[in-house]
């Protein structure tokens, strides 16, 4: 065949492309992250920038090693998004090396070792989050009370540099704990949930995000806004987030009915920690989640249940990252068993009986 063959039909294409998808996800993350940067101040801004830069550098390095087109793949935005998600789950005043390590782990161990974009089994951001958490539990659970930019008592630019580059001890007065930690401590000390909640639980503040927590996780309202935007743009389907939220809420409600003194209710669980961010932005990651809507329902419900189990009965106060990774491992199994029915065939893949065969 001497003639060059042009690509096959179709000769039309939707407006979708990888860059656009990644850009829309980042756009959806922007409100909650901007709010996080605002209430946690300059240290959070540095941390955020460092994580993303480290992720991009790791991606460029890996692509160069693998002799892949660097500009094309860096430009797709997937590395920046992974870095962004790692940053969103970090304590806002974590030291610089946590950010750098997070970006490196997410891209190199979480993604490029598997073969790069589209090949990884586990969510890169969650791989980084879990490896950091088990390696550096102190740095990863030292939260701060909100100190909005330019407000009274907020660290200024140079103080912030000191915080990020290793002298957080100077500022130890401000360290605080997230609600999940606080309730856990209350229970450990023999108190009960209603007492602990009465002391620490402010649903309205959690809705807005004006509480101690990770950089991009605290504002339930803004995350929800971003999630709805993704649904509206059809970047994600409702199945994963709905199943995840419904599953944890249902279990929490039942347990709360059984023993309100030990088990907090559904609203507490849904608004706490990384649950909403996880439901809309992490469990919906294309690469590591099932490809069918039924599969996504199972994935979401499983992740929600695991989060509850981890939060309630293990040594970790928060479990979104673990739950997502465990469900990631199950994704191939879910995809193997849950498949759409093929036209003209039954669920088992055999041809449908025709009128000739019947009777």
């Amino acid at each position: 065949m001497s003639l060059p063959t042009p690509p096959s039909a179709p000769y039309a294409h939707s407006s979708a492309n990888v860059q656009r998808t990644m850009a829309l996800v980042m756009l959806a993350l922007t409100p909650s992250t901007l709010y996080g940067l605002y209430i946690y101040g300059w240290p959070a801004v540095f941390l955020f920038a460092l994580t993303i830069l480290s992720a991009l550098a790791a991606e460029a390095f890996s692509l160069a090693l693998r002799r892949k087109p660097i500009v094309m793949f860096l430009g797709d935005g997937s590395a920046a998004l992974s870095g962004w998600l790692v940053a969103a789950t970090l304590p806002p005043w974590a030291p610089w090396w946590v950010a750098v390590l997070g970006g490196l782990i997410a891209i190199i161990i979480g993604k490029q070792i598997f073969g790069g974009l589209g090949q990884n089994v586990f969510n890169p951001a969650m791989v980084a989050r879990v490896m950091l958490l088990v390696s550096f539990p102190v740095e990863l659970t030292r939260f701060v009370d909100p100190k909005p930019l330019f407000s009274q008592g907020a660290p200024d630019f140079s103080q912030s540099l000191q915080i990020v580059f290793g002298q957080i001890e100077k500022f130890d007065t401000i360290s605080s704990a997230s609600l999940l930690d606080q309730i856990r401590t209350v229970l450990k000390q023999g108190g009960d949930v209603p007492g602990g909640l009465a002391e620490h639980y402010q649903p309205m503040a959690m809705l807005i995000g004006d509480v101690p927590g990770s950089l991009g996780e605290t504002s339930a309202l803004l995350i929800l806004l971003g999630g709805l935007f993704l649904l509206y743009k059809r970047i994600i389907t409702w199945h994963t987030p709905a199943a995840m939220i419904a599953s944890i809420a249902l279990i929490a409600a039942v347990m709360n009915l059984i023993d309100p003194a030990r088990y907090p209710g559904p609203v507490y669980h849904v608004l706490s920690g990384a649950l909403l961010l996880g439901a809309f932005f992490i469990a919906t990651d294309y690469v590591t989640a099932p490809v069918t809507n039924t599969g996504r329902l199972i994935f979401g419900a499983g992740a929600g249940a695991l989060v509850y189990v981890i939060r309630t009965w293990t040594v970790f106060p928060e479990g979104v990252a673990f739950a997502v990774l465990l469900m990631n491992a199950l994704t191939p199994v879910i995809d193997f068993y849950i498949k759409p029915r093929i036209y003209g065939r039954n669920r088992a893949g055999e041809p449908l009986p025709g009128p000739d065969d019947a009777g």
Binding site: P10, A12, H13, S14, Y343, G344
Partner: protein, 495 residues
């Protein structure tokens, strides 16, 4: 009427308004008509005229060569100037056997077979007439129509569906035909219903063609058994399997033909051709083609003779505007690339498009990110990404196991893929490569048979030799024994 739903599908922008308000018009007679012998699925026709021979309009020039084949007729009167290879309207850009006719401008008709009366003609007579007229599916697949009709005579069908969905963007040829020649289409439907004893017919038209729906409703008002269904505008509504599902709620069993579901589907243009063949004895020698696209100066709908070079159609529409990104035959979703504007129009070709770059919207081929938009878009419940991964790794038979042959190649998955992966090309490649493997396998099985036959023969010869040797030995032993016995007896008598 009650409609059912289909799975998946996509909504590409239709661009139909470029040409949909342009009435069907004829174009000037081309200098040469190049009539390919291969215009249908199945065996190509075989020429029955000689170079230099004069032919009349409608005269048989290519005979059908097998049960799945269709004859070809001279589109106009003139002289056969060449019989040989000529560039074919085919994605390969290869040439195929073609009869070239220089028109004499007289448009003198050959003697046509007498009209049939649909009221008295038998199903077999109608099917024969459709075969003689060289009618093939005019929606693009080009399957010989008489074969479909023949299937209908062997089993009872409950519905005839006329496909007027025209779900491909840009195309408006069927739309115009339904608006302007609705009587002929309804007539064709009535003929086929009568011939095969089908109790009802449904003309399915996408609801983005309200004028066509109205025209068809008016034409069918006298026929109680012919209904018009406005089906939702969603690609690929016009796919045979999907149209059957939306209209009847029944799925065609995998690997079977629509007749197995009690349904016969014909394109509206095919129905019109059937009408012409039965009522007037006219063979299929022309068709309506939409010439459109953002890079076409004056899009329109042309009635062209089979064999008209694409270049003539383009110049009849004011030529090209700038440099098109892609020239193609058919619609943008399933059409084939056009290598050379000299390629001719054939019976199954419903469009000539010149698309600008923004219309094609090409993009860099990126890795699959498993977004599963292709799974959601697939009207057949397949997982295109899974098939693609297997084909990329040359695991072709595994791809066949997960649905390669259930795929209708509609291109919805490629259209929606954010990574711009040419999924349909993977599927086309895999089917072709599997076919090649099959041919090689058959050849090797034949050779294996030769080897086995030889080994058996050698064994037989060896056995025969061995037996002969044994027999000789036994004979010799017997002779010896007899000799000894005789000697002994002799000794005894001597004693």
């Amino acid at each position: 009427m009650k409609l059912f739903s289909i799975r998946g599908g996509v909504h590409p922008s239709s661009h139909k308004s470029l040409s949909s308000e342009q009435p069907i018009r004829a174009i000037a007679m081309p200098e040469l008509l190049h009539v390919p012998m291969r215009q249908n699925i199945g065996a190509p026709a075989e020429p029955v005229v000689a170079e230099g021979e004069s032919v009349l309009k409608g005269q048989l020039i290519g005979e059908s060569a097998g049960p799945v084949s269709a004859p070809v007729h001279a589109p106009t009167s003139g002289t056969v100037t060449a019989i040989g290879d000529y560039i074919a309207p085919h994605p390969s850009g290869l040439a195929g056997l073609t009869i070239t006719i220089a028109p004499d401008g007289r448009e003198a008709w050959a003697e046509l077979p007498p009209p049939l009366d649909p009221e008295t003609a038998t199903g077999q007579e109608i099917a024969d007439r459709v075969r003689e007229a060289g009618i093939v599916g005019m929606g693009g697949a080009a399957f010989p129509s008489s074969v479909k009709l023949g299937l209908g005579t062997s089993r009872q069908l409950h519905s005839l569906i006329l496909n007027g969905a025209e779900c491909e963007p840009y195309l408006s040829a069927d739309d115009r035909l339904m608006r302007e020649r609705s009587e002929g289409i309804v007539g064709g439907a009535a003929i086929m219903m009568k011939a095969l004893g089908i109790p009802r017919a449904i003309v399915a038209i996408e609801d983005n063609k309200p004028e066509a729906i109205a025209a068809m409703r008016a034409a069918a008002s006298g026929h109680g058994a012919i209904e018009i269904a406005a089906v939702p505008s969603r690609y690929p509504m016009g796919s045979e399997k999907q149209l059957i599902q939306v209209v009847t709620g029944v799925e065609v069993p995998a690997g079977k033909l629509p007749a197995h579901a009690g349904v016969l589907v014909h394109n509206v243009a095919t129905a019109h051709a059937v009408h012409d063949a039965v009522r007037f004895g006219r063979p299929l020698i022309s068709r309506v083609v939409t010439v459109s696209g953002g890079a076409m100066a004056e899009p329109g709908n042309l009635e062209v003779l089979i064999g008209t070079p694409v270049a003539d159609m383009i110049s009849a529409c004011g030529g090209l505007k700038g440099t098109p990104e892609q020239l193609l035959l058919g619609g943008p979703m399933m059409g084939v690339p056009l290598h050379d504007k000299a390629a001719p129009a054939i019976k199954g070709n419903n469009g000539v498009l010149a698309l600008s770059r923004s219309e094609v919207n090409p993009g860099a081929h990126m890795p699959c990110i498993r977004c599963a938009d292709c799974v959601a878009a697939c009207p057949c419940g397949l997982q295109p990404l899974e098939m693609m991964i297997r084909i990329r790794n040359e695991k072709l038979s595994e791809a066949a196991d997960v649905g390669l042959y259930d795929c209708i190649l509609c291109g919805a998955c490629s259209w929606v893929c954010p990574s711009h992966i040419p999924l349909v090309q993977y599927f086309n490649y895999a089917r072709g490569a599997l076919r090649d493997q099959d041919i090689v396998k058959q050849h090797q099985d034949k050779l294996k048979g030769y080897t086995q036959r030889r080994e058996e023969r050698l064994e037989r010869i060896a056995r025969a030799k061995e037996e002969a040797r044994k027999a000789r030995k036994a004979k010799m032993a017997a002779a010896k024994a007899a000799k000894a016995k005789a000697a002994a007896e002799e000794e005894a008598t001597d004693a």
